[in-house]
Amino acid sequence: MNEVCFKNLDKKDSWSLAVYEASGGYSVWRKILRGELTPEQIIDELKASGLRGRGGAGFPTGLKWSFMPRNSAGQKYVVCNSDEGEPGTCKDRDILRYNPHAVIEGMAIGGFVMNATTGYNYIRGEFIEPFNRFEGALKEAYAAGLLGENISDSGVDFNLYAHLGAGAYVCGEETALLESIEGKKGQPRFKPPFPANVGLYGKPTTINNTESFASVADILSKGGKWFADLGVENSGGCKLFSVSGHVKNPANFEVSMGTPFKDLLEMAGGMRDGAKLKAVIPGGSSTPVLTADVAMAMTMDYDGIEKAGSMLGAGSVIVMDESTCMVETLTRLAHFYYDESCGQCTPCREGTGWLYRALKRITDGNGKDGDIELLLNVQDKIMGNTICALGDAAAMPVESFLRNFREEFEYYIEHGKSMVKG
């Protein structure tokens, strides 16, 4: 536990440059500056590590970095997505708070590999403390001569800036994030072209999650195999899980991929007040909900969760006990997506509002026959028809809640009140 991003968590001032360097921090970066590591070596090591994008999509990081046209002329950018907005997740916040230099080193390495001399870390608008912590770390890194132009006479340039968002969930979508950095309204771009070809300010850009960047330096110093061996097949390394909900000690846990869910639940102190587990959303609010039995049998890795019928996502585990009304929970989730849809494309703009209003009507006691079919129908019409994944994210929970807890919905519609709460 706590072997990569959180390895200094128990140390005093873990966010300081001194603590980071004492644990081997910036040794990879210095090696690069001395010319002892090539981009190809780095990419090979990352591929060997099995590191997959920690923001939710799970795309292999080494492969992603190899897509960048590093030898093409012109400016290129590397961007860190710290717009951690998915309900249930709070892992990147703690990386920025307790280990910001790992993010800086990871981004600098990424910049070197992809020949991008400028980086931006886009930090969620509400994260004032993490933002300040990261800014402090940037100052330290610049003062120590680790960033800037022609760093330590290496001929390597890397400038890094933090950019505070303004509170839109959709800016966690990588192209909306780029729009936001450019000073425009945060709306996803249609793809193709992809950011690796046309990204920030129209230049090739690679965007990775905070946790992905924070894992890079350790992978390179200890080896891809070491990292891969921390996890299981197809899910290399360890992963931060944010466990929230009806548990005794909600917290972030960095554990090996493949850890059984029931062990993770135990780490979080088990169920609160001895209550019985009812449901788990394993990867953040956009991923399908699972029933207790299925969850308890599941292991926490990409394949394990997929086998259980959901997705690892950003590792945001929302635990619900038997006092939870699934109709009201879904209504709350639907409200979130309705509120956060950027509004540019039709199915999401109109569909999220429709889903929320219909659910609100049900929880107001005005449900009617056919509402379940209506909800399924609307989510199906959003699914796959939108510019970005927010539409799918809004649709998916509807399908899984209705599939797993249909009788609660039927009860609410028929009786005008919650089956659980009465």
């Binding site: 309204k185 249609f190 193709p192 509004g343 540019q344 039709t346 429709w354 019409k381 028809n385």
Partner: protein, 753 residues
């Protein structure tokens, strides 16, 4: 580029790699529904209506943003495509008010049309519909944003074409609202195009509101005559009245956009001030009479005043710049047949001995390809909006633009340099440019350049022109009355010659190229307008002239025309007290849209048009009036049945040009205050001055004499007073020793100073 083959609905189709799928399906006549896509705007891919099934792609792909590649297989009609399209249609309709019976777009609504095919009869949406509060965005565009489907065509039009993002999306999710950012609403000179691009009834024409259904109207294609472009437009008419004007497509001329001036000027046609009956003045009293009586009276007047006395050279004829080719041609033909060469249309020129010729030798489309432009004395955005649009497109593609003007204007593209100097310094700046250009190609300097010191600004302008492979020099209206205007023009011609630049002459507008082509200029024995006004002529024929707006020497003109010994025949479309005062016969004539004719644009295209409606009351197309007048005067060669016979005759005529001053004289260095007098963009002709909605716009209200504080002090005026009848604005945007006037219909005085 080699073409590739793709398969659409089982049919093999060849297309360019990377081309967007929707342009291929459009070309092949395969119907793919769409709302946000517009061929002249950037791709948004946001409405999702054009989703189609591309084999191999897990999700349906939007045809508007899917570049094609070799071997792609596309199904536009299968279940996957149709179900996505129907899903999007349903989403679009849930919050749409479906108030088609009371919506102005009904019958020409893209949403309505597509809903017929893709919509369902029954809605399963039972929640409350969204209501959007409306802003008043100005006198031209009516908003009803509850109907908006957020396609953002209007937003993209503003940002990409008009060059000013006046509409934008605020809020998010289903609170997203398309609205102007500023309370002054939409003020662009091209704003009306938003009505055309809006697929639904969210943005409709305010003057046309609740008038008619589109299917009740006839549509005739015609040509707009307010500028040098001759935009192709469609006049939509009902029971003999023009009810609305929309843009026509012509990539070589106006693409698919038109200026607000061209779109809304039709309102003037039905103004209460229209002149409807022929009138003659008997013993100082006006009397409405029939055409026979009026024309007899006109012929008698001409006969007794000049013809009987063998004083045919005592006839002067003048016409407005907006006249058609046929009108110019017939009027000069009458004058020449009678024996007079006193012919002119250049009423607004202060000194006609001080003019020089500059040809336009670049086409509108060519403007987009230049790599550098030098603009001298022009505010192209308001004066020639569609030409400015081409310059803006060029600029967005990287063309650099230098400007020499006497006032800072609100350009909607980046300028490389903006040199703000008074008109009488423009010549010396250009002389510096020419000197620098000649030096760089090692040509010996002519005498007049020997003593010229090349300023830093001139050197930099010269360098840009020298280094450019494809540059254009644009000459505008502001220097026509400068003390050394001929010198300025001739310097530009020289600079263009030595830098291989093309030239674009915007110094005179509307249909003035037709006047030149038809010989509507003084002949070798004739007088120009200013000479006529000083010569106590015995008779005049005046075509569509309103002296207080049209003449530079307005007071002198009104005095001369009022001479009680002369006989004045006026042909006008609108009533005017000053015209009534000096005329002996007033003949009501057809305005724009009411006559057939021809306009010649800056490309040299002769664009002929038929009448869209019949002229009101007793008014007649001027060419017919001239034909009958000529017959009554027993002049030979007026045997025309329709106006196209005249057009043909004109095409076969040799050019008949007046003399030009070819001197370059740099000795004029007076310290006088320069006055640049410009009619406001929406007051340049009689029809515009009677167009109610245009007059209420921000541009229509431009009526200011701009000057800096020191000039105001010298002239003894202040910010709350008037100069030459125009309210004064004190600003540093104007060059020193210079007053820039934009006068609208509220100011009834010429540019005399």
């Amino acid at each position: 580029m080699a073409k590739i083959e793709i398969e659409i609905d089982g049919k093999m189709v060849r297309a360019k790699p990377g081309e967007m799928l929707i342009s291929v399906t459009d070309r092949e006549g395969i119907s793919v529904p769409r709302f946000c896509y517009h061929k002249k705007l950037s791709v948004a891919a946001s409405c999702r209506m054009c989703l189609v099934d591309v084999e191999g792609a897990p999700k349906p792909q939007p045809a508007c943003s899917t570049p094609i590649s070799e071997g792609m297989k596309i199904h536009t009609q299968n279940e996957k495509s149709k179900s996505s399209q129907k899903a999007v249609m349903e989403f679009l309709l849930i919050n749409h008010p479906l108030d088609c019976p009371i919506c102005d777009q009904g019958g020409e609504c893209e949403l309505q049309d597509v809903a017929v095919e893709y919509g369902s009869d029954v809605s399963c949406f039972s929640e409350g519909k969204r209501i959007v509060a409306d802003n008043d965005i100005g006198p031209l565009i009516q908003t009803d944003m509850t109907r908006c489907i957020h396609c953002t065509r209007c937003v993209r039009f503003g940002a990409e074409i008009a060059g000013i993002m006046e509409m934008g999306g605020t809020g998010r999710g289903d609170h997203l609202k398309i609205e102007p950012f500023l309370t002054e609403g939409v003020t662009s000179e091209l704003s009306g195009n938003m009505i055309d691009v809006c697929p639904v009834g969210a943005l409709t024409s305010k003057p046309f509101r609740y008038e008619l259904r589109s299917w009740q109207m006839n549509s005739t294609s015609t040509i707009a005559r307010h500028d040098l472009v001759g935009s192709n437009i469609n006049a939509q008419t009902y029971k003999g009245n023009v009810k609305r004007v929309v843009s026509g497509d012509n990539d070589a001329v106006n693409e698919t956009w038109i200026s607000d001036r061209d779109r809304f000027s039709y309102e003037g046609l039905s103004h209460e001030n229209r002149l409807l009956e022929p009138q003659i003045k008997i013993e100082g009293q006006w009397k409405e009479v029939g055409w026979h009586v009026a024309l007899d009276y006109a012929v008698k007047g001409l006969t007794s005043n000049i013809l009987n006395n063998h004083q045919s050279d005592q006839l002067g004829v003048m016409a407005s710049k907006t006249s058609t080719v046929e009108e110019f041609y017939l009027l000069q033909k009458i004058a020449r047949e009678i024996g007079s060469e006193n012919i002119d249309y250049r009423l607004n020129i202060k000194n006609l001995d001080n003019t020089a010729k500059l040809e336009s030798n670049i086409k509108l489309g060519g403007l987009e390809g230049v790599d550098h432009a030098l603009i001298v004395g022009s505010n192209p955005r308001l004066e020639q909006p569609m030409i400015n649009h081409r310059l803006r497109k060029a600029s967005l593609n990287g063309t650099s633009v230098d400007v020499i003007n006497s006032m800072k204007f609100d350009f909607n593209y980046q300028l490389n340099s903006e040199n703000i100097i008074a008109p009488n310094q423009i010549a010396s700046t250009l002389a510096g440019v020419l000197s620098s250009v000649l030096a760089s190609v090692s040509i010996e300097l002519p005498d007049y350049l020997q003593s010229i010191k090349v300023s830093k600004e001139s050197a930099s302008i010269a360098e840009k022109l020298n280094n450019s492979d494809n540059s254009v020099i644009v000459l505008g209206e502001h220097v026509v009355n400068a003390e050394n205007s001929a010198t300025i023009v001739n310097l530009i011609a020289q600079i263009a010659k030595h830098t291989n630049s093309t030239t674009l002459n915007l110094s005179t507008t509307a249909n003035s190229l037709a006047a030149e082509l038809t010989g509507f200029v003084p002949g070798s024995k004739g007088m120009n307008v200013n000479a006529m006004l000083e010569s106590d002529l015995k008779a005049y024929i005046l075509l569509d002239i309103y002296p207080e707006y049209d003449f530079h020497h307005a007071d002198k003109a009104i005095d001369a025309l009022n001479d009680k010994d002369n006989f004045v025949i006026s042909l006008n479309g609108f009533k005017n007290d000053i015209v009534s005062e000096y005329s002996d016969v007033i003949l009501p004539i057809a305005a724009f849209y009411e006559t057939s004719g021809t306009h010649i644009n800056i490309n040299g295209d002769m664009q002929s048009f038929a009448a869209s409606v019949v002229a009101p009351g007793e008014s007649k197309p001027a060419w017919k009036v001239f034909k009958v007048l000529a017959d009554l005067l027993k002049l030979p060669g007026f045997n025309y049945v329709d106006s196209t016979q005249i057009t043909e005759e004109v095409s076969h005529q040799a050019h008949n040009n007046h003399l030009h001053n070819e001197n370059i004289d740099l000795s004029i260095t007076s310290d006088n205050i320069n006055i640049i007098w410009q009619q406001s963009p929406y007051s340049i002709d009689a029809l515009l001055r009677h167009s109610g909605s245009l007059q209420q716009t921000k541009i229509g209200k431009l009526n200011f004499a701009y000057m800096n504080a020191s000039v105001a002090k010298d002239l003894g005026v202040s910010a709350d007073s008037k100069y030459l009848g125009v309210p004064v604005v004190i600003t540093d945007a104007v060059a020193d020793r210079c007053v820039f006037v934009n006068a609208n219909k509220a100011t009834q005085t010429g540019g005399e100073s």
